[in-house]
């Protein structure tokens, strides 16, 4: 597909948006440009999306192009695949990623394989946006990340913005991509007042069109002593930790993955080759998680051993508990990152 004129990552004047606003703005702008785009999902019409992803779109584009659906994820995601095969570019919302279990077949066996099974003759230009993450006491069926669940299965691209600027640019790229793109937005960053919001996620977001490329990580803080790889909310924890570490002379580099499939292995390797140390911070379950993938990528490719064993912080392999005293005990945070890095630098080999 040929792309219309768009600047790549050229920020304009200071214009602070939340991720929610950045997403709905991006979708709205694209819908103006391309009449084949439509949005479907539960409560994305008049309500504007439970997480504000479609605010104002129903009013602007009407009920034909902004469609509330029944609570029938298999049918409406399946329908989106059929639309995508027939000239439309659907954007669907799966309200919480935790609900993937009722509709994963339509996603991974249908959408993600349409191009392959058709030998490239039928594409699937579909964006599936879905909320991830916990930390606000919503318990074990509404707080999961499941990054690796999607990152493990081929045929989909998977993006996870940590801030509004990237969210807009990634959403534009996702919409224009001819493949299924899973757009995971973290509730702690979304900028819905009622969920609280990590301040760093609200940043300068140009009104004009720009693309953040899918598959490119971003160094959000340069440093020389250790590479902290994060994604979504953990990027902000990593940055906070890095600020604290800097006070005692430890210079951490923070890498925001932004995309987990395809994973930007080059950027990871380049950073770790420079710093010689690696900590991956993830709020998804630990085992077979993105942290393992990053560590394996580094260890199998780096010619020289690291200065100390690579480490990961993730949600342990247990369901997410409701009570805040337990939930916050388990989730990664700046404090845990900071002390882990101090230990890593103290225990060199």
């Amino acid at each position: 597909m040929s792309l219309p004129d768009a600047t790549v990552e050229k920020p304009g004047a200071e214009r602070r948006l939340t991720i929610a606003k950045a997403m709905s703005e991006a979708i709205g702008q694209e819908m103006q440009r391309d009449p084949s785009i439509l949005v479907m999902g539960e409560d994305i019409g008049k309500m504007g999306g439970v997480f504000g992803t479609t605010t104002g779109l129903f009013e602007t584009f009407g009920g034909e192009r902004v469609r509330d659906t029944p609570i029938s994820e298999t049918a409406f995601i399946g329908a989106a695949v059929g639309m995508a095969a027939n000239g439309l570019r659907p954007i669907v919302e799966l309200m919480f990623v935790d609900f993937f279990g009722v509709c994963m077949d339509a996603i991974y066996n249908l959408a993600a394989k349409q191009s392959y099974f058709s030998g490239g003759k039928v594409s699937c230009p579909m964006v599936l946006m879905t909320s991830v993450g916990g930390g606000y006491g919503d318990a074990g069926q509404h707080s999961q990340c499941l990054y690796a669940t999607f990152g493990h299965l081929p045929g989909m691209k998977v993006v996870i913005p940590s801030n509004a600027h990237d969210a807009k640019g990634l959403m534009l790229s996702a919409i224009r991509d001819d493949n299924p793109v899973i757009f995971m937005f973290h509730k702690a960053l979304q900028g819905m007042g009622w969920l609280g919001t990590v301040a760093g996620s609200i940043n300068d977001t140009p009104e004009s069109e720009y693309l953040v490329p899918i598959g490119k990580a971003s160094i959000v803080r340069e440093g020389s002593d250790v590479t902290i790889v994060g994604l979504g909310v953990t990027v902000h924890h990593a940055l906070a930790a890095a600020r604290n570490l800097a006070e005692t002379g430890i210079d951490a580099e923070v890498l925001d993955l932004r995309t987990i499939a395809p994973l930007d292995r080059e950027s990871i390797l380049a950073s770790v080759a420079k710093t010689g140390r690696l900590l991956v911070v993830d709020d998804d379950y630990l085992s077979c998680g993105i942290g393992a993938e990053v560590i394996a990528t580094v260890c199998e490719a780096l010619p020289a051993p690291l200065k100390c064993p690579p480490q990961r912080i993730a949600h342990p392999d247990i369901p997410i508990p409701f009570t805040p005293v337990m939930e916050h005990f388990l989730l990664p945070d700046a404090q845990k990152i900071e002390s882990r890095i101090r230990a890593m630098l103290g225990a060199q080999r």
Binding site: I71, S72, G137, A139, G140, W194, P319, F322, V325
Partner: protein, 327 residues
């Protein structure tokens, strides 16, 4: 008649208990969440789905149930849990995330498990339907006449699990009753915008099971129909589907601005609040005010006690999070 009297008094008291439980939830939920509403804060973090207005569904059904009958309920579970007899102290403590909560704080308000009365609920739409069929089959296979009831919302009736579970229950003649609480909305989406048929009871025919529709949000009417369906199940005739017209007097969850609702809809619905209406009917039919007052204050007392228990109970140790992942 006297049994009828005591059942009706019980239903009234349970409705009051449930409503009062939620009346206490409301201010507690907003503690620490003002002036800027943040769901993460306060003693009751996370989503909170109230059942105000839907009490007739719970009491009319549960009035027929025994502790060994199973209920699987939804994300909006309080009224049903209370009518089923879930331990109120432990339930309140769970919602507050305390150590003597039903699950020691691991589950929270959408995941209330009380095996003593065979109650559970969950946060995924229509998720409890399969388990209800399974519980019913377990009873049947052990030769018991215990039954199971799966509650769901009208929005849930468009989920695949609904279809699969009704068919499976019918094929296996499982002693289960599916009860749809039709409050007209799935979050913001009205039933008419997402359901092909006017009455979900009509879908029962697709599974060769009886389908019942109950209008009026009326505990007596629910009681009558639920009695038929439950007896049908208990006597070995198989599953039934009941759709109950009810009303959601609050937002989908607490904090919901409800911009999608017609202006005075809630006001109109509150004028038809089933609890005062039921009281008025009972009085008109000869119940003594004093008797009703007594039942009310007893119910309230239990709720007050449960909240006091929950508030004063300690939080669990953080590291207990690692317990009970496996049996």
């Amino acid at each position: 008649m006297s049994s009828n009297h005591s059942k009706r008094l019980w239903m009234y008291a349970q409705m009051v208990k449930s409503r009062y439980f939620e009346d206490l939830i409301k201010p507690a939920y907003f503690e620490g969440k003002t002036p800027v509403f943040n769901m993460a804060k306060g003693p009751l973090p996370g989503e909170m789905h109230l059942s105000d207005g839907q009490e007739p569904c719970a009491v009319g059904v549960c009035a027929h149930l025994r502790p060994d009958d199973t209920i699987t309920a939804t994300h909006r579970p309080h009224h049903i849990a209370i009518a089923k007899g879930v331990d109120l102290n432990a339930m309140a403590a769970e919602i507050f995330g305390k150590k003597d909560g039903l699950a020691g704080g691991r589950g929270g308000h959408m995941h209330l498990f009380d095996p003593a009365v065979n109650f559970s609920c969950s946060g995924i739409i229509a998720q409890g339907m399969g388990p209800a069929v399974g519980a019913a089959m377990a009873a049947k296979m052990r030769g018991s006449d215990a039954i199971a009831v799966a509650f769901l919302g009208e929005g849930a009736a468009n989920q695949g699990a609904f279809h699969e579970s009704l068919n499976l229950a019918s094929v296996w003649k499982a002693p289960v009753v599916f009860v749809i609480e039709d409050n007209s909305y799935g979050i913001s989406v009205p039933k008419s915008a997402c359901t092909a048929v006017a009455s979900n009871a009509d879908r029962a025919g697709g599974y060769a099971m009886p389908g019942h529709h109950v209008s009026g949000n009326d505990p007596d009417a629910v009681y009558a129909i639920a009695g038929i369906a439950i007896e049908w199940a208990r006597s070995g005739s198989g599953p039934s589907l009941i759709e109950i017209e009810t009303s959601r007097l609050e937002g989908h969850f607490m904090g919901d601005p409800e911009g999608y609702r017609p202006k005075d809809e809630v006001k109109r619905l509150k004028e038809r609040d089933p609890i005062p209406a039921y009281r008025a009917r009972l009085v008109a039919e000869g119940f003594e005010e004093a008797e009703l007052d007594r039942a009310e204050s007893e119910a309230r007392g239990k709720v007050d006690q449960a909240f006091a228990f929950a508030r004063s109970n300690d939080y669990p140790e953080p590291k207990e999070a690692f317990d009970h992942v496996f049996a």
